[in-house]
Subunit: 355 residues, 2 copies
């Protein structure tokens, strides 16, 4: 038994080791943002407001999905748990996510995020309540735009010491995220029905941004860029499953569990991956989505047709197949078996996060 423990010292307590690192990510986030808040507060309490908005969003929690994948990629690649590199990278990913959420909420006009009013709604409300000058909507959105900008800059500050290969990855990850967001907006406005494009957006925003690139960032910081192929196979398949689950949760989910209103994608005319798959399968769906001026989509009818045509059930099967594909891809990486098992467990967790 002692021999086994010595042979696999780093995998005998995977959740424990990663848990310790995740706790350090939280500390890093708090320490960095609080020192910024304290610094700007000395200039003027108002100067600390955008920092406070960033802290507000980061401290709302969330799944910490990207840090989990980054740390897992780092540890599975043999990274030193005592190193600060993967902790900083994970904190940077979470600040980048705060940036994305704050701006996304403005762009989508979302009212709730992680169960609380979004940043722009909160500040527009304060503007109204205090009777400040100008338009409350513009003020709230302006504060949120700047707070998101600040989160983007802070995310980047934590990548200061990255080696060149990791910096390149970081640059690509940010660019893809923004282009993916724009495509979401454009496709919704133009009501584009293009399954290939919708799948590309899902790959870009969920596969690459949320899973593949965080994994590879961790592996790169551990010096194992050779894992790129396996992590790409795993990340892209699981990313598509992630996006399909997201779409299903938005369409059929319980707002109490998701922390945001149901049917928001429908309200915003989002041509989600779910809907494009549905259109491919049944012409009735297309008719429901055909635009008629600014008439809102009939969310209840769409839900009903998604059920009746069997699209919902098919998408559930597709999610299962994508998880299998992700697990197969990671199995070929030659990782320590304990890590292969852990990645399979993570795949299930992500694809069935509504359970």
């Amino acid at each position: 038994m002692t021999v086994i423990a010595t042979r696999q010292p780093s995998t005998s307590d995977l959740p424990g080791i990663r848990g310790d690192l995740l706790a350090r990510v939280e500390q890093r986030l708090e320490q960095y943002t609080e020192s910024e808040r304290a610094r700007w507060k000395q200039t003027n309490p108002r100067a600390a407001q955008p920092v406070e908005a960033v802290i507000d969003m980061v401290s709302r929690g969330g799944k910490r999905l990207r840090p989990i994948f980054c740390l897992s990629g780092f540890l599975a690649a043999g990274g030193d748990p005592a190193s600060a590199a993967a902790v900083d990278a994970s904190a940077a990913l979470e600040l980048l996510q705060a940036f994305a959420l704050i701006h996304d909420d403005v762009i989508d006009n979302s009212a709730l995020r992680r169960g609380r009013p979004t940043i722009h709604v909160h500040h527009a409300g304060e503007h109204s309540a205090r009777g400040w000058l100008g338009e409350a909507r513009r003020f709230g959105e302006g504060v949120a735009v700047l707070a998101g900008d600040l989160a983007l800059v802070y995310a980047d500050e934590l990548t200061f010491d990255f080696p060149p290969a990791a910096r390149r990855l970081w640059g690509e990850l940010r660019t893809e995220l923004i282009v993916g967001q724009h495509l979401d907006v454009a496709v919704a406005a133009e009501s584009v029905v293009d399954p290939q494009l919708s799948r590309w957006i899902a790959v870009c925003k969920s596969g690459r941004y949320s899973i593949q690139r965080p994994l590879l960032l961790g592996a790169t910081l551990a010096g194992r860029t050779d894992l790129a192929g396996a992590f790409e196979g795993y990340g892209l398949a699981l990313g598509e499953a992630f996006q399909l689950r997201d779409d299903l949760m938005d369409a059929f989910g319980d707002p109490g569990a998701t922390g945001k209103p149901a049917g928001l994608d429908f309200a915003e005319h989002k041509m989600t991956l779910l809907l494009t798959l549905a259109v491919e399968r049944d012409a009735r769906i297309r008719n429901l989505l055909v635009r008629d001026g600014d008439t809102p989509w009939d969310a209840d009818l769409i839900r009903q047709v998604l059920e009746e045509t069997g699209v919902r059930a098919t998408v559930e099967r597709t999610i299962g197949e994508l998880v299998d594909r992700a697990v197969t891809a990671i199995s070929s990486a030659g990782l320590d078996p304990a890590w292969t098992d852990e990645f399979a467990r993570l795949a299930t967790l992500v694809a069935y996060r509504d359970r």
Copy 2:
């Protein structure tokens, strides 16, 4: 004569050398953004749209003030004109400025920038014209927010190879810019009359962001961090002059010359440095600015009182004194006399850019 030419080889043709580098900055901007546009266009023409918005803003020209100061700081500090470092830094500063302008125009609801419709107004117009789904205003602002985000990321990509001291400066410059923008928004909404705070905002946004930090970035890339003190003295004084000129041009300027409507600060209830100085000097101004619900300020009356009370003339004198102070600060730096003269010339150019 040959001896003199040999003693001062780098300063005998200052405008020429800096002009060559400025031309390389334009090439770098074009080459970088066009390669991004080409790359994303392959995915989908819509994926290239945020890149095209960045190109649109950058290619509108502008004074290239920050590149000029960055290159001047670099060359005055003895930087090698053949090096790419200051060219990349200058291109990064210009992309950062594109980010700031695009987001600022959304936040201020500006219609024109550099004589053409702002990015959000352009895209809102396209949305309306094509009868796309959703609200045109939200679409236009969403596209602009994402385009600004992309410009921020691109700016950062060009700082990839900076040495640590320059990276730290770059980080501070971006953070200050965003905090300064937020203070502008907050002070306008709350109609804060606080000359010290308004001066701090001017120092932050104009002094540090536009002059001092670009200069110091150039000098740091040339390995001369010892110039920090002189450049701070020059940059902060000249920055205040710059801001006062900006305020005067907004209040009294000719829209044909400035490329944007006159009196925008008044329309947005901006508590500019000009107005805070005016309030300190004459109580009538304060009465004009006292808020009465959302009633717009009476721009013509404010202009009239600024003239009658002599505030406009006093501010002109202050600008002259600030230029003197800037020139004195730079004279103590021990630069080559040709550069001392050039910095004096730049100070006049910046402070009297309406002429």
